[in-house]
Symmetry: C2
Subunit: 435 residues, 2 copies
């Protein structure tokens, strides 16, 4: 083969129309007759069909060998790029040369249906298949779009620690580790740290893995998942809703632009995503109860919503919906009280459409030292563990607010994926710790 | 106060020259006479001097009150923006209104010298001080610049798992946690997972926290630190060096542009960073031994370098220096053998200038199944734990290469910071797990 030929990637074939190029990748699949072979070649950036005519190759031996290359063998090919609007991606390769770099053994993932457990046992290989590839390409876009959004908006990234010293609310859902002569716990949220950082930097966010040792096998739970948590000084619950809706619209806009082919692979209707434009509807907890009651689901005042309730609420709106101003007992101790109704706190959840449930939880934080001390006592929390957190109210307390968005639930919704384990490269659940 | 005044941030005062604005922040410091008070106001985006003349405020009571506001109280001010080239940042505020939102208690961090331990105990407040603020602003820029670089270069972000199932090389530096009925270990590197991902996506990277339970108290060690690990399919050791030097030059360029004021705060000479342009010198391990010998430091062939050795090598060059082609025994089992000298493997380290030591380690990976099996046996590693990793050689093995860069060491070098604990928001070391 002429190694002087330009090296192309599937994604950039359009830059080489009618030119001869080299391409390196893996054999994704193929079929052949006595005179012509079709090789599907993937290189990580996409899949292209290579057409190998017996009459076009250097020698017949190469043609016969190419027909027998096992699936997932690594190959180096050369050929001319032809525009073909019927081809997926718009191009095909008229091959003149095919060589195998490393011949694959019998590939365990075949076109037949495999169970989820088998596929997840082979996650290190399954990543190469079309659906996981499309989902994780979207995940990558979403993560960068999120970071780009916060960078543009002037937020400072402040990484929250993973090791935390206290198990304030019990150890039942905490992962615990020996930490030299102490015990440490793996973080469930960076929020308290972000409150400290907001007083130093104004607007901040963290974005990293968080952990939950829940004995839960639902399709919405992972033991290890990524969470983004912005926090703003001098901000209130309305600022949270505005930031959240702008963020979601911005990220979805990026995915529609960058990942159109991936959405098509997933058969995800882009029109459903295009409709996600601010403002999103905003209803109070009390109004949400009415929505549920109208659908025949009566909850007691103070109840939190289950997954089914969230779906009923979501289905009553075309866009994600904010539910704000919750009963105090349904939310965490640090939520700011509603100045207009002391049964309520200024918490807000965002419920995604199509049954994807709560993807954001946040709100305004209590900035009064006295109120916070009362709440810590009322929740039987150890005040000494919160001394540093109280310092934020002792030294220049300001109204401040923020939220957390679970990456996997967000990406799951965008992709239209049933189970969150499919939207993280190497999922960790109660029953899965490998590969 | 007229709440209709536009709300400014310190960073954006230049957009409001000669206009009246509102500003919300914290009192960073001040001094006053009977007729005039100077208030240093910080808002997270910067610090501005506010000038309050008794004759300019609405009433004398406000002037007297403003003089007595304790440090770090949260305040809301109004005033006219004046350009003043002598002022830090180029602007000052001629104040007409000052009100306290929350009066601070006696602030524990005073202008006097505090010990590191005291400051780190108050890290939640110390973040507000000039030096930590500058360092962590640079850290935020570096992280986004790194992600932007890999996004531009077409790399897919593939998050590596934190929980891993095996303690292949012993548990001595691993953090361990109960994982339901199993044991899990916290990741020390995402590399093996990135090798799987590179075969699916071509060029990939992960960037997240990694963990090391080392009983080490040196200035270069943290138990929890962030690491970025790119991996490229169809790539070799030269590609690694080229990618690494382009990445470093790109990130430093961004910091010079975005964080000039922070570098000035740190008294970090930008000329030293401006000089960091590719190509970086590339020497073999054997050549590095000669460099050391010339400086009177004789190492046996096969020895790894200590911190002092790295400094000697670094000081022999004006830029970061690559040391490549290491003795097999000095490097990990997965390194590709050097086809030209079977005592060597295709590993490469990058040593930063000015004594900041190794910031990158990487190289080309072994892609031969047979060789890898031999190495796993030779290192007494349990082959069953590497079954999935061997699959990457069974099914379409390709030449591939990558590296890991430790974020804190990189940022420490950029900032000229002595101890890596200063470049992470909430450091975790052998003796520190809080706040």
């Amino acid at each position: 083969m002429q190694t002087t030929l330009p090296l192309a990637s599937v994604k950039k074939l359009g830059e080489f129309v009618d030119q001869d190029v080299r391409l390196r990748g893996w054999l994704y699949g193929g079929r052949s007759s006595g005179k012509i072979a079709f090789l599907m070649i993937r290189d990580g950036t996409g899949v292209v069909q290579g057409v190998l005519a017996k009459s076009d190759v250097e020698d017949e031996e190469m043609f016969q060998a190419a027909r027998k290359i096992p699936q997932e063998s690594s190959i180096i090919v050369a050929g001319k790029v032809r525009q073909d609007d019927r081809a997926p991606g718009g191009y095909e390769l008229l091959l003149s040369h095919v060589e195998t770099y490393s011949e694959a053994g019998e590939y365990p993932i075949t076109p037949k249906e495999h169970g989820q457990s088998f596929l997840m046992d082979h996650r290190h290989l399954w990543l190469r298949s079309r659906l996981p590839h499309a989902i994780l390409s979207i995940r990558s876009s979403v993560e960068f779009a999120l970071r780009s959004f916060f960078d543009r908006e002037g937020f400072t990234l402040v990484d929250a620690p993973i090791f935390t010293p206290n198990a304030c609310e019990g150890t039942s859902t905490l992962f615990q580790t020996d930490y030299f002569d102490k015990q440490a716990y793996l973080t469930q949220s960076g929020q308290l740290y972000m409150e400290a950082a907001a007083a130093a930097f104004g607007n901040v966010y963290c974005f990293g893995p968080t952990f939950r040792a829940e004995k839960s096998k639902t399709r919405r739970h992972l033991t290890e998942f990524w969470m983004l948590e912005p926090e703003m000084a001098w901000a209130d619950i309305d600022d949270v809703m505005q930031l959240a809706e702008n963020m979601i619209a911005s990220v979805i806009g990026t995915v529609l632009e960058r990942n159109a082919a991936d959405l098509a692979t997933l058969e995800r209707d882009p029109a459903k995503l295009e409709a996600i434009r601010p403002p999103f509807p905003r209803i109070t907890y009390a109004e949400a109860l009415e929505v549920l009651a109208k659908q025949g689901k009566t909850l007691a005042w103070g109840d939190d919503f289950g997954g089914e309730d969230e779906t009923i609420i979501a289905n009553s709106f075309a866009k994600p919906v904010f539910v704000h101003r919750w009963p105090r007992e349904a939310k965490a101790f640090y939520m700011a009280p509603d100045p207009e109704d002391d049964r309520l706190v200024l918490g807000v959840d965002l419920i995604a459409p199509e049954g994807y449930g709560e993807i954001i939880g946040g709100g305004q934080r209590a900035d009064s030292l006295t109120y916070l001390e009362e709440q810590i006592a009322a929740h039987d929390l150890p005040p000494e563990a919160f001394e540093w957190y109280m310092d934020l109210r002792r030294f220049g307390s300001v109204p401040h607010a923020g939220f957390g968005i679970g990456l996997e639930r967000f990406v799951g919704w965008i992709c239209g994926t049933h189970h969150v384990r499919e939207v993280i490269p190497f999922p960790r659940t109660m029953n899965r710790l490998s590969p």
